[in-house]
């Protein structure tokens, strides 16, 4: 077998040259999230300084470090000095850093988040001691925000494709054995042992066989897969090759949602680099293994994340799920044995084959080995992308890593597992994050979206939100899901409108059980979960809506009114923004809202900088 040694040596030299670079370097986190926060304008500011002021500096676009709440983030390497990570960098801030730190000797500590590469600087924590990072173990994300995702050398220099080389030296059965020893379970939601799925597919007669990477990431509120593919595409691709070899596949498909254009672009670049290096095509690295990869873009249907629907979609049909068995591992794409794995599962595989199964199994709990990435969003102070050992508690994630609730509000619930999951209240904050514990609490691990809610979020509204999502995304094939979710949605709407009765609450609960038991695929089977968990943990809030016609969180429009308090300075902003013309008052004097015209759209509430508008 040929190895990549020569190429890797070259790559190591590239990487070392970078570390010994005598010019200052600026790394800008420019994944989609960084861009949304203005990263490209920051890059332009550096380019401009280079052009116009002749500043000798190298700029590199990297992926997301996970500190999304501080984006855009920039790492500045000044030769001979500690490397510093800065947050909330706008073009003027960037110019200031270039001026004060690179041209002068002032490290701009007021803008600094952490030092990188183990350096120390007074008052600034090293990266790994930053409160957002301390509890993390970054195996999957180790390259994200560190390497240039378009530079193949960077991936190789950091041990890339060693896992594949190791795998190709073993018989496929032994690769599966390694994955078994690691304890890896699928990261796409269900947590099925990865090795068992592979083994099943390997043993089933029939060829060709296929491996599909599920990069649909349909759960709203989840972005782990996007960030990984944008920041380190090869780590997933390497895992896909290893999986393909293990199950005896000759072709792989990546099914990725069209809403992720940058991730698609990064994958295309990476695939052409693989082709050039002999990592795709016939006899990969002169072994007996031949394999190719094709990208298929999704077209905006949540249900296509489900395995059988995904297969239908690749075949060019409507993404309708079908009953299982037969499982895709037995009869999948075009009736051939097919394994479908999530992006993170495959990225974990490259780690396991590179560093050995024990390095992975060492982390986590006995039943849930290794690490899991989560996207932390909603009302938490520090939103972003994290990777933690399984078994960590929700409290540690939300309070230690996330820094607690934003704007000093009170924690109300955390939604885990997306539309298939549930909302857990404060009393469950000490639940360890693993498959079984979360299921026991009535929620699920899911793919890793964590959306935190505060006291201004209404439990009924959240249940309604998820149900309208699943109802709209139901493929409509089976009646329990098609009709049942519709009926449940009507009840939720009447609760929000203040026209429901207490009997309706019971009906809602029994309908939820019926839909759960009778639906064909995972979408319908889990659609009632957000309703069931909110009913279980926030029943009094439902009752307040029904009995007292009151929405305690101040969200449900039919049950609330807006009022302006004496804090009002008469700045007139709200009156100008109100689309209904419901606010009146003299400049510099307290304004009033006409309740008959007010539609509770909240435009005034958002705009008021004096917190003078309250909801009753």
């Amino acid at each position: 077998m040929r190895t990549l040694d020569a190429l890797r040596q070259e790559a190591t030299q590239t990487w070392q040259a970078l570390e010994q670079e005598t010019r200052p370097r600026v790394l800008v986190g420019a994944a989609t999230c960084g861009r949304a926060a203005g990263a490209l304008a920051v890059i332009e500011a550096v380019e401009k300084a280079r052009r116009e002021r002749g500043l000798e500096v190298l700029v590199t676009e990297v992926g997301c470090l996970g500190l999304c709440c501080m984006e855009p983030v920039v790492t500045v390497y000044k030769p001979g000095r500690p490397a510093i990570l800065y947050g909330n960098v706008t073009p003027p801030v960037m110019n200031e850093i270039l001026q004060r730190w690179l041209l002068g000797d002032d490290p701009c500590l007021d803008r600094a988040i952490a030092t990188v590469n183990g350096d120390r600087l007074d008052g600034i924590p090293p990266f790994h001691e930053h409160p957002m990072l301390k509890a993390q173990s970054r195996l999957i994300l180790r390259n994200c925000g560190v390497i240039d995702p378009t530079n193949f050398h960077h991936y190789l220099a950091r041990g890339g494709y060693l896992g594949l080389e190791n795998a190709l030296r073993m018989p496929p059965e032994m690769v599966i054995e390694q994955v078994k020893r690691s304890g890896l379970r699928g990261r796409g939601g269900a947590g099925f042992p990865t090795w068992r799925k592979w083994q099943l597919c390997r043993e089933v007669p029939g060829s060709p066989k296929y491996i599909i990477c599920n990069a649909d990431e349909g759960d709203p509120g989840a972005f782990m897969n996007r960030a990984l593919l944008e920041g380190d595409p090869h780590s997933m691709l390497e895992g896909m090759l290893i999986a393909g070899y293990a199950i005896g596949a000759s072709k792989g498909y990546i099914y990725i949602r069209a809403e992720y254009p940058l991730a698609v672009q990064r994958l295309r670049t990476a695939i052409s680099q693989m082709r050039e290096a002999g990592l795709l095509g016939e006899h990969i690295l002169d072994s007996s293994f031949s394999f190719d990869i094709e990208i298929r873009e999704g077209a905006g249907a949540f249900v296509c994340g489900e395995e059988t629907a995904l297969i239908a979609s690749i075949e060019g049909r409507r993404g309708m799920p079908r009953p299982r068995p037969p499982f895709p591992a037995q009869s999948g794409l075009w009736g051939r044995p097919t394994v479908i794995n999530n992006v993170e599962t495959l990225a974990a595989v490259s780690h396991i084959l590179r560093d050995g199964p024990d390095s992975y199994a060492r982390l986590g709990t006995s039943n849930a080995r290794g690490t899991k990435t989560f996207s932390l969003a909603g009302k938490v102070q520090r939103t972003g992308l994290i990777e933690v050992p399984l078994g960590i508690t929700l409290r540690q994630i939300i309070f230690d890593i996330g820094g607690g609730i934003a704007e000093g509000r009170a924690f109300k619930a955390v939604q885990t597992g997306g539309p298939s999951g549930g909302c857990l209240p404060a009393s469950h904050l000490d639940t360890p994050v693993d498959y079984e514990s979360l299921t026991a609490a009535g929620s699920i691990m899911g793919s890793g979206g964590l959306v935190v809610m505060d006291d201004r979020n209404c439990a009924v509204d959240i249940a309604h939100y998820f149900l309208s999502f699943t109802q709209a995304e139901s493929c409509g094939k089976c009646p329990p899901c098609r009709v049942g979710t519709q009926r449940m949605l009507w009840i939720l709407e009447s609760i929000q409108a203040g026209t429901a009765t207490m009997e309706d609450l019971d009906l809602l609960e029994s309908l939820a059980q019926t839909v759960k038991a009778g639906s064909l695929c995972g979408l319908g089977q889990t659609a009632p979960n957000p309703v069931l968990t909110t009913l279980r943990y926030f029943r009094s809030e439902y009752e307040a809506h029904v009995r007292d016609r009151r929405c305690p969180a101040g969200v449900c429009r039919a049950l609330i009114t807006y009022r302006i308090t004496d804090e009002c300075t008469g700045c007139t902003l709200c009156a100008r923004l109100c689309p209904m013309g419901a606010i009146s008052g003299q400049r510099k004097q307290k304004h009033v809202i006409d309740p008959n015209r007010c539609e509770r759209c909240g435009a005034c509430l958002d705009a008021c900088s004096y917190r003078a508008i309250v909801v009753n």
């Binding site: 709203p220 972005f223 905006g300 409507r318 909603g378 809610m453 939100y465 958002d606 705009a607």
Partner: protein, 151 residues
């Protein structure tokens, strides 16, 4: 249009029905929507019925059958955006532009759409105009966006 369509379709093997979705995507990327003419030609090229092309295309939310406006505003209604009240942003655009979601303003300047999550949840609420993602949106910022793209 029809030669350009032909040109796009030559990339797909004749009669390969599995290429239906990629073909629709290419056509929409090029013409920004799927016209009746495109449906006819795709059907003929891939040897499937026109109703099957419609059947598949209408199942997926990505495909449009009407010509979109000059700019497309997409409001994210994903969970993270929802808990940060993106419904208010959508309502703001609907009112200010006098258009409902899924449609185009009378002057053809803006189309308003919703997305289920753009994967920028940490910067919620998120609004995407054409291909530019705007995070941490507020009504006031939305007003500025309309000004910027409206002129």
């Amino acid at each position: 249009m029809s030669e350009q369509l032909e040109e796009i379709l030559t990339r797909y093997a004749r009669g390969d029905a599995s290429q239906l979705i990629p073909a629709l995507q290419q056509v929409q990327e090029r013409f920004s929507y799927v016209s009746p003419e495109a449906v006819r030609q795709i059907a003929r090229h891939l040897k499937v019925s026109e109703s099957e092309v419609y059947g598949v295309a209408s199942f997926y939310s990505q495909f449009r059958f009407e010509k979109p406006g000059k700019h497309t505003i997409k409001v994210c209604l994903g969970t993270a955006c929802h808990v940060r009240r993106s419904d208010r942003l959508l309502e703001f655009f609907e009112r200010t532009l006098n258009v409902t979601v899924g449609h185009t303003t009378a002057d053809g300047l803006f189309s308003l759409e919703r997305v289920a999550c753009f994967g920028c949840c940490a910067l919620s609420p998120v609004v995407v105009v054409d291909d530019e993602v705007h995070g941490r949106m507020t009504t006031a910022k939305a007003q500025r966006l309309l000004k910027k793209y409206g002129s």
